[in-house]
């Protein structure tokens, strides 16, 4: 018995700090978004920041599942559940408090994910990919079919503005504040969650059969992660619905899951900063090159292929590698463990 207890305590004792350099940097950057409305009134910058934050929060759903080597296409499904929950609450029940709505947008998808996770988490690899893809298609069709609740192909329109302590958050900068709040919540939850269970997740990622046989209840961590990923996706869904002031099935199209996967992979799936970097780079690139809508999928596709073939660590992996090389090249720098090495760039299969 005492043996078991010591096994349980071992990783606890070795947890030096819950959050690493990447996490603090990411949270700092997301937190900076609160200052953007103060610094500028430029509607272009405000809406760009808004889009980046929503994209990055949605990509967190992919990031969490990739921590266990599971590629999830289910993000739009849970975004839809979160977004529609908010729309129904505010339109039919008159709830406008942003904190209440945020909690609902997290809890509802997370609860839905529990039975779904029980069903599908026994599948691995390709089968998991296929089943999450099918799940998103089903949710999309349900949104169209369940007209009394979802408004069918018309969607739910005319939502009232959300309120914080009774103050309406209506104009552009206030909508960005709402999104920033949701994104910050999503990133904080994800950072704490993935770091707290980092040993467990890494064990499952590297070899889940071995982890299981060493006494790790894999399904419990997978189910928990699936649920948290669903909740965080729900927050992104809330932010999207709040920005558009409508909940419509096309906002949660099954193929949009490809974009969220792209943000995560191109940014670098080894660290949480990757999802933010990927979303920021790709959303900006889409805008910068005037690749509105039509042509951006091609750019995304090309980047996915290039990253998969030559730079598995994504942008963050490349940056970490370059930083490491610089440090080694300069003899003056004392040899110390770089904070960046706290989270090794994953992706290169051993």
């Amino acid at each position: 018995m005492s043996n078991q207890a010591s096994i349980r305590r071992l990783p606890q004792a070795r947890r030096p700090a819950l959050l690493g350099g990447y996490e603090w940097a990411t949270l700092g950057l997301v937190g900076f978004a609160f200052a953007v409305p103060v610094l500028t009134r430029n509607p272009q910058i405000l809406s760009q920041t808004n889009l980046i934050l929503i994209a990055a929060t949605a990509a967190l759903g992919v990031y969490i599942m990739l921590r266990m080597d599971l590629m999830s296409f289910a993000v739009p499904a849970f975004m839809a559940i979160g977004g529609y929950t908010v729309a129904v609450l505010s339109l039919k029940l008159g709830v406008t408090d942003v904190i209440l709505l945020g909690v609902a947008a997290f809890v509802m998808p997370a609860l839905c994910a529990v039975p779904l996770g029980w069903l599908i988490l026994r599948l691995k690899g390709v089968y998991f990919v296929l089943v999450t893809f099918v799940l998103t298609e089903i949710v999309q069709l349900l949104l169209f079919e369940a007209t009394p609740l979802t408004g069918g192909s018309n969607g739910l329109v005319g939502m009232p503005a959300v309120t914080l302590f009774g103050i309406e958050l209506m104009d552009n900068s206030q909508v960005l504040l709402t999104t920033a709040g949701l994104a910050f919540a999503g990133f904080t939850i994800t950072a704490l969650f993935t770091r707290y269970f980092r040993y467990e997740f890494t064990a499952i990622e590297k070899n889940d059969v071995l982890a299981e046989s060493l006494g790790l209840a894999c399904w419990r961590y997978k189910a928990l992660a699936f649920s948290v990923a669903a909740g965080v996706s729900g927050l992104a869904g809330f932010a999207l619905v709040n920005m558009l002031l409508t909940a419509h099935p096309t906002s949660f199209a099954p193929m949009s899951s490809v974009s969220y996967i792209t943000y995560t992979i191109v940014g670098g799936k080894g660290a949480i900063l990757g999802t933010l970097a990927g979303a920021a780079l790709l959303v900006t690139a889409t805008d910068l090159f005037a690749l509105k809508g039509e042509l951006s999928p091609g750019l995304f596709g090309l980047l996915i292929i290039v990253v998969t073939l030559v730079a598995r660590g994504g942008v963050i992996g490349l940056a970490a590698k370059a930083a490491g090389r610089l440090r080694r090249a300069s003899p003056a720098a004392p040899a110390r463990v770089a904070p960046i090495a706290a989270v090794p760039a994953r992706g290169v299969k051993s």
Binding site: D69, M71, L119, I120, R122, L123, K124, G125, V126, Y127, V129, L130, V131, F133, V134, L135, E137, I138, L141, L142, F144, E145, P254, M255, V258, I261, I265, E294, L295, P297, G298, L299, F300, G301, L302, L303, I304, I305, V307, T308, L309, K349
Partner: protein, 288 residues
């Protein structure tokens, strides 16, 4: 009654199209262990090559269909050789590159031909009447060609040396290579065969249904459905499942309306994946 029969014939026509798409998809999974996210892209490309050859260049339609088949097969061959082969051992990477390739293909088609659907109709018009049932000649041609192609694929896989080699590769790649099967030649061949089938289907079907850069998305979804239903990697399963999916879709469209048929199919497939991941006819599933 007549309506029932006519709907059944539409179902068979849809089923034979799905069978061709699903056969290619399942071959790629069975032999290479790759889920080809770009399958819908090859279908669309087949449609556009056929359109370009027959409408823009003015070639006869059968030549255009042949050109579409060969062009998609050639691109599939190159894609496998140049890109897919490098990451073939890592299932997540194969998924990423096929997905990326699909996005690139769809965007390339959009750039070349524009977002509007071009004027592209089947060269044979007219309707065959039997009693009260009406069947367009075009659908009959599609059924005929698809069935011929299915028979060819079966012959190739179960009666030819190449087929034996490919089945051996699917069974156990290491042993098959040790016995002298040439992976480097067979993988691109299998991939090209599958994408050629997708191109052929696209060339035949898009003039009847619709041709536009984005029509590959539903094709991908329905290929998934069919192949999961039949069992990933199972050739017979894919064929049977394709006709089930075609029938359900045709009858649901006529009698239920909306997307209820698709919804029922997706839920059925979700349950099958969970309860019986090997599918209806799949015996032994390739380890994913």
């Amino acid at each position: 009654m007549d309506n029932l029969i006519a709907t059944g014939l539409i179902g068979i026509s849809l089923g034979s199209q799905y069978a061709l798409l699903a056969l290619g998809f399942t071959l790629i999974f069975g032999i290479l262990g790759v889920v080809n996210f770009a399958h819908g892209g090859f279908y669309v490309m087949g449609g556009y090559v056929a359109y370009y050859c027959s409408v823009v260049l003015g070639l006869p339609f059968p030549v255009a269909v042949l050109a579409a088949t060969l062009a998609t097969a050639a691109l599939g061959w190159l894609f496998e050789m140049i890109i897919l082969e490098r990451v073939i051992e890592d299932h997540q990477a194969t998924l990423m590159v096929t997905m990326g390739f699909y996005l690139v293909m769809a965007t390339a088609i959009l750039l070349l031909f524009g977002p509007e659907s071009p004027e592209f109709s089947f060269p044979i018009t007219g309707v065959w009447r039997a009693g009260g049932a009406y069947v367009p000649y075009a659908n009959m041609v599609v059924i005929g060609v698809c069935l011929a192609a299915i028979v060819f694929v079966y012959w190739l896989i179960y009666r030819s040396g190449i087929g034996r080699a490919m089945r051996a590769m699917a069974e156990d790649r290491a042993v098959a290579s040790a016995l002298g099967m040439r992976t480097r030649a067979l993988f691109p061949f299998a991939f090209a065969l599958a994408t050629g089938l997708a191109g052929l289907t696209g060339a035949l079907v898009t003039p009847i249904l619709a041709l536009a850069p984005h029509v590959g998305d539903p094709v991908l979804a329905f290929s998934f459905l069919t192949v999961i239903l039949g069992g990933l990697g199972s050739v017979a399963g894919a064929t049977v499942a394709a006709f089930i999916v075609g029938m359900v879709e045709a009858y649901a469209a006529v009698y239920l309306g909306g997307s209820k048929g698709a919804l029922a199919l997706f839920v059925l497939v979700l349950l099958i994946l969970v309860v019986r991941p090997q599918g209806l006819l799949g015996r032994e599933v390739r380890r994913a």
